[in-house]
């Protein structure tokens, strides 16, 4: 398989992409030129400006088609691949029972002002998602789901009270990077409240996270679009049950 690829319109290597955006300029020839200038700066060759429509007096919306000149090197793609075995509920329960010797406690919440619980509920509630049951279904996991709009201090206190092994936080609202701010606030609060050895594993999830940014946000792992409960359960087993103490959350 070739490791260098380009976008595909109708012929291998043609590089074709579609782009749309608004510019804060009234619609005239200069505005169209400006749109093409952007396309060219983005590396689009022989850009075709196929649509330009004034929105009010001060803005113009554009649609551009053209060939992106960039090459994509598949070998340079960084992805957080699953670096642990995928277990089914039975295997998870057995591992916890045998190796941990007690129930593994998970505390979940939507923090800050975020009230989008559907995502965390999909992971935690029995009902689950995509045909998989949620973590509540796992006999050896003890799940405490705090629901929506939980303040960070409340979350920390509760995690301490429950002696949580892992804290699962969902963030869906991303406007003004709310999800990033809230996640940083949360990880900082746990760092402040607990010494490294006693800190629960910190996991965040939500549809707009970049899975590569865990370190930057101070958490152990990020899960994005399309996560299923078994992804998470398997990861928890891997990190909390299987891993040697030396691999404690950093």
């Amino acid at each position: 398989m070739t490791r260098i690829v380009r976008p595909y319109g109708d012929t291998t290597g043609d590089g074709m992409v579609q782009l749309s955006f608004t510019l804060p300029v009234p619609h005239d020839k200069r505005a169209e030129g400006a749109a093409l200038q952007l396309a060219s700066k983005m590396g689009i060759d022989a850009a075709m400006l196929v649509h330009a429509k004034p929105i009010g007096e001060a803005h113009t919306f554009f649609v551009v088609y053209g060939a992106a000149t960039h090459l994509i090197n598949l070998d340079e793609v960084k992805v957080v691949e699953r670096d642990y075995p995928l277990l089914n509920p039975k295997e998870v329960n057995e591992a916890v029972k045998e190796k941990l010797g007690r129930k593994l406690c998970v505390v979940g919440a939507c923090i800050g002002t975020d009230a989008h619980t559907v995502g965390i509920d999909a992971i935690l509630n029995i009902k689950g998602v995509a045909g998989e049951k949620g973590l509540e279904y796992y006999r050896e996991l003890r799940v405490v789901n705090l629901g929506a709009q939980v303040a960070v201090p409340d979350l920390v206190n509760r995690a301490v009270d429950e002696e949580a092994d892992a804290v699962l936080v969902s963030q869906v609202v991303t406007q003004k990077d709310a999800h990033l701010h809230n996640t940083r606030e949360m990880s900082a609060a746990f760092r402040e409240a607990l010494p490294p050895g006693r800190r629960p594993l910190l996991v965040v999830g939500g549809p707009r996270f970049d899975e590569n940014s865990a370190a930057e946000l101070g958490v152990d792992r990020i899960f994005s679009r399309g996560t299923t409960p078994s992804d998470v359960a398997s990861y928890l087993v891997h990190r909390i049950v299987t891993a040697a103490p030396s691999e404690e959350p950093a």
């Binding site: 929105i55 009010g56 002002t113 009230a115 991303t174 406007q175």
Partner: protein, 523 residues
């Protein structure tokens, strides 16, 4: 806005549904009449003219109500203790009284005897000036509609702005109105519903929405008045009377001439985990204010379908609409102000999903022929595939047109991605306009047969709604809510936020606003 009946609904079932709703909701109304809340009391002080906030941004109405509650409890109402303190003469006005009280220099107690009469008269007069403002705004609205005119078409086109900054919202709202919006809804910042106070002044720092404040209301209404004259139709303004401060926001809305408010009988309970008792008490008061102000309420049945399946839970929408109707009527809202909600949220992968939507939409249309129904776009099954998204929105618009919906909340192709961009609104409006202009007349050709798929489905949902209402009557509404009947959320009556702000009214409870509103002397 009565639509020609396209469906034969069993009239006995319809009557049964309404009487069950009354039986389910009646006890809750009695409970609401027997309680007050901090927000009801604060709203009363707002009507009486108390504005502003302390240097930390805590409104004086909060400081004053908290002070009174601490000293006397909430159960008597704050009006008499406050106006008795004012009558004592040490403080020239409510604001100065609040300052003094915050500094710890005022003692409150429920007055008795002639002091009580004096305080009551003062309180009545003060609150009356608030109602005068509301009444004047209502007259201004109807004058403007008379001279400038209403939108030429139905459904009215409802667009959202949500920048978080009132000064970005304003030009975007004006642009949207020029582009065809009949109603502008300013979305609130994510956290506001859980704040137990209403922020003050013009604000620029909301997340995914802009704070609802009296000043933001005023600024936006003024801007839209200007645009209304420019575009030749009265552009309505919508916000949220919802959350912990529902009554106060209703009062602010009335005094600043908002035209529509989101106000649902159970939304706060289910989706914000606000205490059920708090919610029902606040709701009754806020709806009475809306009735006085001539504000159309928008109920939130769409929200159920973001967590429950839109086919399985279709009847919960009908049940909630019937409850909302009962509560609204009881609070004095006529059918013409009842923007009952429903939504196009069926999984598009379900066979015949579009016709199921038509069935549900027609059921609502027919059950509430004189209500300005609010038709909400797909959200849950919208994905990052914006091309498909725009298509789905087109079919949503079509269903709205075919079934004679009154208010069309315009769907955005970026629903699953971002709060709307300028261009999203433009693309969405273009979509609406195409459907309205190209297919508006389809009502002439749309005749679902009496024994067909659509009629059968509508009657099936009605039947399920009647069954569920029967169960709710048996269990009691509060217990039904506790059991997770709506939106799969379980909310016990003693749980949730804001319970500490509720008090059972004492024998001597007095509230001049409640008196005016219950007296039913609305203009």
């Amino acid at each position: 806005m009565s639509a020609a009946p396209l469906l034969r609904l069993d009239p006995d079932q319809v009557a049964r549904a309404r009487s069950l709703a009354e039986r389910a909701a009646g006890p809750v109304v009695d409970m609401a009449r027997g309680h007050t809340t901090v927000s009801v009391e604060r709203a009363t002080l707002r009507l009486a003219g108390l504005t502003g906030a302390d240097p930390e941004g805590i409104p004086w109405v909060n400081r004053l109500v908290d002070a009174v509650a601490e000293q006397t409890g909430l159960e008597h109402g704050v009006a008499l203790p406050v106006f008795a303190a004012l009558a004592a003469g040490d403080h020239p006005d409510l604001t100065r009284l609040a300052h003094a009280s915050a500094a710890g220099g005022v003692e409150f107690e429920p007055p008795t005897g002639t002091a009580r009469t004096t305080a009551r008269n003062l309180a009545r007069a003060a609150v009356a000036s608030g109602f005068d403002r509301i009444d004047a705004q209502r007259r201004t609205r109807s004058d403007m509609v008379d001279t400038i005119g209403d939108p030429p078409q139905r459904p009215w086109i409802y667009l959202i702005v949500a920048t978080g900054d009132i000064y970005e919202d304003i030009p975007q709202a004006q642009a949207a109105a020029r582009a065809g919006a009949d109603i502008i809804a300013v979305i609130r910042s994510t956290g506001q519903s859980l704040l137990d106070y209403v922020p003050e002044g013009a604000t620029r720092e909301g997340f995914a929405g802009t704070y609802a404040t009296g000043e933001n209301f005023r600024l936006m209404r003024a801007a839209l008045d200007e645009t209304s004259r420019e575009v030749g139709r009265y552009v309505r303004l919508c916000n949220y009377a919802s959350g912990l401060c529902m009554p106060e926001i209703a009062a602010l809305a009335g005094m600043n001439r908002l035209d529509m408010m989101l106000n649902d009988c159970m939304y706060g309970i289910l989706f914000r985990d606000i205490n059920p008792v708090r919610t029902f008490v606040d709701q009754r008061f806020s709806r009475q204010i809306h009735a006085r102000a001539g504000i159309i309420i928008n109920t939130g049945e769409d929200n159920y379908l973001t967590t429950a399946d839109a086919v399985e839970a279709a009847h919960t929408v009908t049940v909630s609409q019937l409850l909302n109707e009962y509560f609204a009527h009881e609070a004095g809202l006529p059918d013409g102000l009842l923007g009952l909600g429903h939504a196009f949220e069926i999984n598009p992968e379900v066979p015949q999903s579009f016709r199921l939507e038509l069935a549900h939409a027609l059921l609502a249309r027919q059950l509430f022929p004189d209500a300005p129904l609010k038709w909400m776009p797909p959200t849950r099954h919208m994905t990052g595939d914006v091309f498909r998204g725009n298509l789905l929105d087109g079919f949503f618009n079509l269903a709205g047109v075919m079934t004679g919906q009154s208010i069309l909340l315009v769907g955005m192709m970026t629903e699953a991605v971002v709060t709307p961009w300028l261009s999203d609104r433009d693309i969405a409006l273009q979509n609406v306009r195409y459907v309205l202009d190209a297919a508006g007349g389809l009502t002439e050709d749309f005749h679902p047969p009496a024994d067909g798929f659509i009629a059968r489905r509508a009657n099936e949902v009605l039947g399920e709604a009647v069954d569920l209402l029967g169960k709710i009557v048996d269990d009691g509404l509060l217990d039904a809510i506790a059991d997770g009947t709506f939106g799969i959320m379980k909310r016990p009556p003693d749980g949730g936020r804001g319970l500490e702000g509720v008090a059972e009214r004492a024998e001597d409870y007095y509230n001049p606003a409640v008196e005016a509103l219950d007296g039913g002397d609305a203009a």
